[in-house]
Amino acid sequence: MEISIDSLKQNIVKMGMLAEKAIQLAFDKSAKSSQLYEIEDQINSFHRVNDDLCLKYMALKHPMGPDLRFAIACVKINGDLERIGDQAINIKRALTMVQEAKFPQIHTMKEEVGRMVKECLDSFIHRDTKMATSVIHNDRVVNDLQRSVIKMFLKKGQKEEIELEEGFQVTKIAKCLERIGDLATNISEDVIFIVSGSDIRHNPEIKKTSQIDEKLRLIQQLPSDQNQKIDMENITKFLKKTTEN
């Protein structure tokens, strides 16, 4: 394989597509576990190949400036994509004990996180910092969705409206999805580092926007009132609308 920025970029994109596929298979009841394991295998081999490629690229080409930033970011993105694969496997295992239809938040989380992964990869391909920034903003949405799943579990658990085992697995899935959201956020931060050279990690200010605040307000309403019927459809519509802008 040619030792170049181009092959590195191509490999990361291919690996990213596999990670997306892994998430999709994790939620696809008709897909066999073995299919997912196969994808996971391919992701793992990209993991090794890409690190090796980065090492050789840096050792042989002595990249400077943006090329150096790109290579360093690729090492990190490579690790993040590999862990997305791991999380997909965890989700698949947990889902065997859960009736997904009973937990609309999981569905919303899956949609949100799936889109974050897709968009962080698109932002990587197109060096699109605006898109990367919108992924980073969405991290809080996913965090709040996870919290709402836990609250719901506690409430339903107290009222014995839910099997302990099933509830536990649902929170686990939410945790995995939240982790994937984090990883997509990390990748987006790396994209911004590649393009602009600025390190925006651990900066809470960056994550604040009014649009997201409105989204969060809606999500916070989800579990707060047991009697209030959750209008998921409405929220999903809203989420769609805000992301289209």
Binding site: H62, M64, G65, P66, L68, R69
Partner: protein, 255 residues
């Protein structure tokens, strides 16, 4: 931390070869105890600029300068300044080692002091040893100080030239591609030496080796066609240059 003192600065320095202007209005401050790299494509005026910092550019027939070079606050291009004194005090190391072929290793080192009128034998001895030790050459030559300077290897000759340069305690040392003719080991030892020299002197080095600039220089300036495109901490220039031209150059996409 104490703010480092500016020891040398150029202000709108221009360099001409007759009608041709090779360097166009360059202003840079150089701090004491620092290494400063100048990089840029071939023919962009690096050597010409460097040679104007100790007034050897004007030695070429038809060549002259405009603007200021301030050494410790004094413009060396003022009428009352003797260029010979400047050349003697701002040492220069060239791409090709150039020891005086007729002189011994010892005399090569102390020639500057002798020209300054120093006659005291033991002082010359002391200075020679001190400079050769500083240039990391003492152990290799201490038993053959009377041999000709040209009997040494290329890397040793280059260190001899550095010893010659530092013997007069110059405030500033200029180096024009000092390692381009050396193998990686000799290069590494010269770079180590630069780090050592930086503890006392201000070093200004022209280099085509970007890794070298990144390794040793605190600051880097990038020239194109006689103009200063960008200057700053090497850390910044090599990781996050502000100018597109700099970015293209350091990533090898220039042209």
């Amino acid at each position: 931390m104490e703010e480092a003192k500016t020891i040398l600065s150029t202000k709108n320095l221009e360099c001409f070869f007759g009608d041709f202007q090779a360097v166009k209005g360059i202003s840079i401050d150089y701090k004491e105890k620092s290494i400063n790299a100048i990089i840029g494509p071939s023919g962009c005026g690096k050597s010409t600029y460097l040679r104007s910092l100790n007034r050897i550019h004007e030695e070429i027939p038809g060549a002259y300068n405009k603007g200021e070079v301030n050494l410790l606050g004094k413009n060396i291009y003022e009428k009352d300044v003797d260029p010979v004194l400047i050349r003697r005090n701002i040492g220069m190391v060239f791409q090709k080692p150039n020891p005086f072929p007729s002189l011994s290793i010892f005399d090569n080192v102390v020639i500057g002091l002798k020209l300054q009128g120093v006659k005291n034998k033991s002082l010359l001895q002391e200075k020679a040893e001190h400079s050769l030790r500083k240039a990391a050459l003492w152990d290799e030559v201490k038993d053959k100080l009377n041999k000709p300077g040209t009997s040494l290897s290329g890397g040793q000759q280059q260190r001899l030239c550095i010893a010659r340069t530092i013997a007069v305690d110059p405030p500033v040392i200029l180096m024009d591609e000092p390692t381009s003719a050396l193998d990686p080991i000799a290069t590494a030892s010269i770079e180590e030496l630069m780090m050592e020299l930086k503890k006392e002197f201000c070093v200004i080095i022209v280099t085509h080796n970007m890794q070298q600039a990144a390794r040793v220089a605190d600051n880097t300036a990038f020239f194109v066609l006689g103009e200063l495109i960008e200057q700053g901490a090497s850390e910044q220039i090599f990781t996050n240059p502000k100018q597109k031209k700099t970015e293209d150059y350091i990533t090898g996409r220039f042209g």
